[in-house]
């Protein structure tokens, strides 16, 4: 076990835990945002740099601070480590810079994007970014690539988190899409246009943090915050499919089916394409009840469940940090 201090809060976690996961055991608004890290996907993380934190003391043995900010999602904890996230102005400033970088080539077409309302980038930019841009150059765009009848790939919106690549690697027999090209010309694509066709391909829609991969059967049908999420399950014939889903209702119609996500937007159990795309009748499912959406986005703001309050867990902060926080409050929906 290793004992670390995260934003003034002490927590004990097993050795080898990453800083991010240690912070998640505390929970609340001190958890660093993550755009590319995805717990169920081995190898993910370290790319978007949204979760950078400052390590003020490396370990009990070697209490020197780390020279650079580290990606909390891939850096394991050491006993005696002291980590600063919301208590470090440097971290907050750098995070603003990361938002700016992620947005310079993003089309910001949220008004017509199906992901809006449950978009990690939207939340991230809202909470940590600034509302103006200094970018005057032409934005990078891509032609749309056809990857089959079920999934729409809109590369211009992609932030290259690689999650869909890992999903295809770890969930399906053969991956047909990947990252082509280099630098800001890098793109997700199938080499020589190819259809992504296997029973679990739909999961790339769920893992995509932005609107780059969307459900073609749901495109432009409904804004997500006008739909009512309901937990349901069915006995799926596919042994790899868990059969536990969220049905998104508008009136009496099931608009779409997704896997269940936790408060960090992570799917714990995958579902197959039959459940996702073909079973869109209430009769196909056993209804469990309203789904609890615990995310700091507009999707939980217009919820028919009681509004979810962000737990206030930073009561034990040192006085100087409290002062800093009061002067520079981290913006958070619902606070």
């Amino acid at each position: 076990m290793a004992k670390i201090t995260f934003d003034g809060i002490e927590v004990e976690v097993p050795d080898g835990t990453t800083i991010l996961n240690a912070a998640r055991t505390i929970g609340g608004s001190i958890v660093p945002p993550a755009m590319c890290y995805y717990t169920p996907l081995k190898g993910s993380g370290g790319k978007c740099r949204a979760c950078l934190v400052r390590v003020a003391a490396g370990s009990a043995k070697d209490p020197r601070p780390m020279p650079k900010l580290v990606a909390s999602c891939v850096t394991p904890v050491q006993d005696g480590m002291v980590v600063e996230n919301t208590t470090s102005q440097q971290v907050l400033d750098v995070r603003k810079g990361i938002v700016e970088m992620l947005l310079i080539n993003h089309p910001l077409d949220c008004p017509v994007c199906d992901q809006a309302g449950e978009c990690d980038l939207q939340n991230f930019a809202f909470e940590h970014g600034v509302s103006t841009t200094r970018y005057e150059e032409e934005r990078r765009t891509f032609d749309k690539i056809d990857i089959g009848p079920l999934i729409q790939l809109h590369m211009t919106r992609c932030i290259l988190c690689y999650r869909c690549v890992y999903t295809a690697d770890q969930l399906t027999e053969q991956r047909v899409h990947g990252v082509l090209g280099r630098g800001d010309a890098a793109e997700i694509g199938t080499y020589i246009e190819n259809i992504i066709d296997n029973e679990f391909s739909g999961n790339v829609i769920d893992v995509c943090p932005v609107g780059a991969l969307t459900d073609k059967t749901f495109r432009f049908k409904q804004r997500v915050w006008f739909t009512k999420p309901v937990n349901a399950h069915r006995q799926c014939e596919n042994p790899k499919c868990c059969g536990k889903v969220v049905l998104w209702y508008k009136g009496k119609d099931v608009m779409r089916v997704t896997a269940r996500k936790d408060q960090y937007g992570e799917v714990k159990e995958w579902i197959c394409n039959t459940c996702r795309f073909d079973k869109k009748e209430t009769a196909d499912w056993t209804i469990e009840g309203p789904a609890h959406i615990d995310r700091s986005s507009v999707i939980s703001a217009n919820h028919y469940e009681l509004p979810v309050l962000n737990a206030q867990v930073i009561a034990d902060l040192p006085e100087s940090s409290v002062r800093d926080l009061e002067q520079n409050p981290p913006m958070r929906l619902g606070n």
Binding site: R49, L69, G97, E138, L160, G183, D184, A185
Partner: protein, 446 residues
């Protein structure tokens, strides 16, 4: 003239064959190390020599070797980084093509010291002709019994392979190199774990530059203490400097660390001064990624001391008034050089070579290039300079690998030392974009 440890016999006829190379003392270090020394003794000699990594970072080689994890029953690897791609640096290419056996001898001795039974030379894809030279030399070394099973009857086995890359700059970063060597896309890995613990095929691995490995035979032959006598302070031994730009005698020079920069540029022994009788304007001392310095600061430190070609002296004053020795790619620019154009050119390179894995570098390098392109072509605005500096700062230190810093440093340094020239471009676009335009000096801005 200083001593030449690596390149003493570089111009001997037929030195690329094993017979001639051995006549000039080749492969002595292999015999000495394998027959008379334990691996740890070789590591100890390298530690004593004070040899620092010649690829750019200047990390002590002996120390790096001692960090190598040595779990029982798990193979270890030595990988030679011959993916020399830094603009301005061309020393390894020459060393490998002229003295292939020196590198192979170094690889054998180093592999023995690290206990590696398989070693790789990862060579840049463009250098196919060097690859053929190396493969021929390796075949000769196998035939002579220096490679393969039971080397010199000692029971030590070593196989050496040369592997060409696809020509991406990023594959010179050690973890991207390992990914590429494994046959994957050359994306740098997150660290930790470091290669010394989990490198090639997740085994403990040491990655060293060509020149570092080529220095090992010299250290083993003469002893680490003898090697450490050359040079100044913690910068020991000799270093290959590839000098290019507006010099009378550009080329590769093996210098004893500690030669004054002024002597290196102006003495006839080395570069012979600036061409066409012009004045020096600026120098990039260690390959395109290190900060550019104006003439006043490269010849003398901020404190007025003469600057020496050592790791410490060149970085004296931090990045405010100093730079780095880097990989030894010494680029000199005369008074007619346009710093804005030069910075744009460097930026274009890093934009093209960014792997696109992490967001600050992927997006930031393109942004830098676009702004610099605009300023250079007469469409800059006053705000651009501050945006440039701030974008560079947002990239620096926040990326997975050092390519982010390599892209940010030249831009920050150019603005730090030549801000007035950027302002001239922005305020007098018509003059600045005229073909052959030369910045007339601060007076025009008043």
């Amino acid at each position: 003239m200083g001593r030449k440890l690596l390149t003493e016999h570089i111009n001997v006829e037929g030195i690329d064959t094993i017979e001639v190379y051995r006549k000039h003392g080749g492969y002595r270090s292999v015999e000495k190390a394998i027959k008379t020394m334990t691996p740890d003794e070789v590591v100890e000699e390298v530690k004593k020599s004070g040899l620092r990594g010649r690829g750019g970072a200047g990390f002590p080689t002996g120390l790096k070797w001692s960090f190598l994890a040595k779990p029982e029953g798990v193979p270890r690897y030595l990988v030679c980084n011959a993916d020399e791609s830094e603009p301005g640096t061309f020393k390894d290419r020459q060393l490998m093509s002229k003295l292939p056996h020196l590198l192979i001898e170094g690889m054998i001795t180093s592999s023995y010291a690290l206990g590696a039974n398989t070693s790789y030379i990862y060579i840049r894809g463009e250098l196919l002709y060097v690859l053929r030279i190396l493969e021929k030399a390796i075949a000769e070394a196998y035939a002579a019994g220096f490679l393969g099973k039971n080397i010199l009857g000692s029971g030590y086995d070593l196989d050496l392979y040369v592997h060409p890359g696809g020509g991406a700059y990023i594959c010179g970063e050690e973890t991207a190199l390992l990914e590429s060597l494994e046959g994957k896309r050359g994306n740098p890995r997150n660290k930790p774990p470091f290669p010394a613990v989990s490198g090639l095929y997740a085994r403990p691995t040491v990655v060293n530059n060509v020149e570092s490995i080529a220095a090992v035979p010299v250290i083993v032959n003469d002893g680490g203490d003898e090697y450490a006598k050359i040079g100044v302070g913690k910068s020991t031994g000799t270093k290959l400097i590839s000098a290019c730009g507006h010099l009378n005698k550009p080329g590769i020079y093996e210098i004893e660390l500690g030669v004054p920069v002024e002597e290196f540029i102006y003495s006839d022994e080395y570069c012979g001064g600036i061409w066409k009788g012009r004045d020096l304007k600026a120098v990039v001392a260690g390959g395109s990624s290190v900060p550019i310095l104006p003439k006043e600061l490269i010849l003398k430190t901020a404190a007025g001391e003469p600057r020496l070609m050592t790791y410490e002296s060149l970085s004296d004053g931090g990045f405010v008034t100093g730079t780095m020795l880097g990989s030894g790619g010494f680029i000199a620019m005369d008074e007619t050089t346009c710093i804005v154009r030069n910075t744009w050119n460097f930026s274009r390179f890093y934009h093209h070579e960014s792997c696109g894995q992490c967001s600050p570098c992927r997006e930031g390098t393109g942004w830098l290039e676009k702004i610099l392109h605009r300023i250079e072509h007469g469409h800059g605005t006053e705000r651009d300079i501050d945006v440039l500096a701030s974008v560079a700062k947002q990239i620096e230190g926040n990326t997975i690998c050092p390519l982010g810093e390599a892209a940010a440093w030249p831009v920050s340094a150019a603005i730090r030392h030549f801000r007035d020239e950027f302002e001239w471009h922005i305020r007098h676009p018509q003059e600045a974009t005229r073909p052959g335009a030369v910045y007339p000096g601060k007076a025009v801005l008043a």
